[in-house]
Symmetry: D2
Subunit: 176 residues, 4 copies
Amino acid sequence: MPFQSFSTFNFQFKMAIRILVTGGTFDKEYDMLNGQLAFEDTHVPEMLELGRCKVETEIRNIMMVDSLDMTDADREVILHNCRSASENQILITHGTDTMTETAAFLAKASLQKTIVLTGAMIPYKFGSSDGFFNLGSALAFLQTLPVGVCVAMNGRYYDWDNVRKNKKTGYFEELR
Amino acid sequence: MPFQSFSTFNFQFKMAIRILVTGGTFDKEYDMLNGQLAFEDTHVPEMLELGRCKVETEIRNIMMVDSLDMTDADREVILHNCRSASENQILITHGTDTMTETAAFLAKASLQKTIVLTGAMIPYKFGSSDGFFNLGSALAFLQTLPVGVCVAMNGRYYDWDNVRKNKKTGYFEELR
Amino acid sequence: MPFQSFSTFNFQFKMAIRILVTGGTFDKEYDMLNGQLAFEDTHVPEMLELGRCKVETEIRNIMMVDSLDMTDADREVILHNCRSASENQILITHGTDTMTETAAFLAKASLQKTIVLTGAMIPYKFGSSDGFFNLGSALAFLQTLPVGVCVAMNGRYYDWDNVRKNKKTGYFEELR
Amino acid sequence: MPFQSFSTFNFQFKMAIRILVTGGTFDKEYDMLNGQLAFEDTHVPEMLELGRCKVETEIRNIMMVDSLDMTDADREVILHNCRSASENQILITHGTDTMTETAAFLAKASLQKTIVLTGAMIPYKFGSSDGFFNLGSALAFLQTLPVGVCVAMNGRYYDWDNVRKNKKTGYFEELR
């Protein structure tokens, strides 16, 4: 691969990406009437516009859950959406707490698709979020990585079977 | 490549990336005393921190110029920095107006390195900038693309010899 | 008063204002490690700097509490700080839920000082906060209103005995 | 006035304020296609909404000029708008460079109205602007100051005949 010319990738420029929104910190907002964090609608479309993104994307808001509350039934819904999507590149926005569990769940289905999960440690609407940076990197990894499942956080990607979230620091890290 | 497993890329997780800062809209600020746009210092380090980036990077601020003012002598300086860097992955932040000219200039040197140029249409400090998204995607492309020179804008990457900036829309597009 | 010239107020330009910070939504932050809202330090000093404020202020961070948790013992502490301050103009940043209770509590002491309470419906750090606007208006009311206690929210001031927070809308309104 | 009760001001709670927008740094935006600062539309309405402002306001966008380019003919237009407004409280957003000239110009007409000029050193859209704070304080001064003309900047108000902008620091200051 190191000597491949870029032109072999050119067909990818026209690729369409399916984006599955599942909630997570990424999309949380502050509800001023009760002082709690809550979900309203996803910010992915406005983020893609702000990023002046010209990748063809098809966005589906399939659930709005805190990933600590995500069940295997929810993960079946995500898997079903990955399988039935006409696109072969799939971006999933997801809470960080169980992002690696969902990645492992999806990997076991061995779909012939590239699936990248990403999220944020701070809500996009809170001004100092990592979410916009993560979305940019996740979309880029999706256009260049082969079939498989990975997590895109902290400017890097991590194979689904070699990643955990360090709960003390909030950073993702490799197992080995 | 479609059937390669991710693990072949694992060595890349430890890669270090050289970041060359050259100025451009990306790093412009508002000078309140004269009402003009001007350069102070680069925002790349604070952006990497906000993005919670864990990619090993080595940042060099080699010039602070508007890319319309960039000369071939400046491009020689950039090329020299690419060649002499110990890293094989190089990110260049650059004004968008002549980003493609610099990409072509660097490509002619045929370095055995991956070089990605990125920038912003709106200054990072102005609140509604595409720069943070572009930085995330550029870093991701750098970790996954083979040797060559490309431009990372609008969530995509463009080969150096197949890209122009559309001055009317501000979007990058392929020539063919 | 309509025909008084402004110059009679000129002595006020040199006035010093005591700012008492008590917490509230105004100063809440997002704790990324547990996904909860929490207090760290007050943002009042950085807000005054961003506002390029040249009013002489003396800031005391006397507590950091959610106003729903504020007790009469806490209000005694606030009153003590109002009374013992050498300044005659006192700004109190306060949670909105019991701001009017604290205003009434302080009014009963009949201090010969001008006391203005203000706060925010959305945390200052969350990007779309009303807090910065409220701080500007509260400081202005403090420099122009006579002795008494009032609440400054929604661009207006409300006498302590003629105001309630409408919990359904989040706006303050007069009782009569 | 120090011993007046607040209730004498209560009628003011219902006051309507005329806001005259004239441009200035306050409303400047970044034009991404040519890299210049330019005017599009005023941000005053969205700022009042973000500030959750409940003061009754009537906004007129009468010109969009850099105050360095403002002529006496422009000032006649502003004066005409002040005179013909049905409201007695008038807020003027204005560039800082000649804000004091316009204040003096208006003062000479001796209208029986309260007129407050304000602006910003950094455009509202640029994320770190003083404009939102200034708007809050200007609205508050307008509701509490008697007939006359003043400048509201830096959290304070300055009589029209006792103020200048220090071009070196960007702060307003009294002449004596």
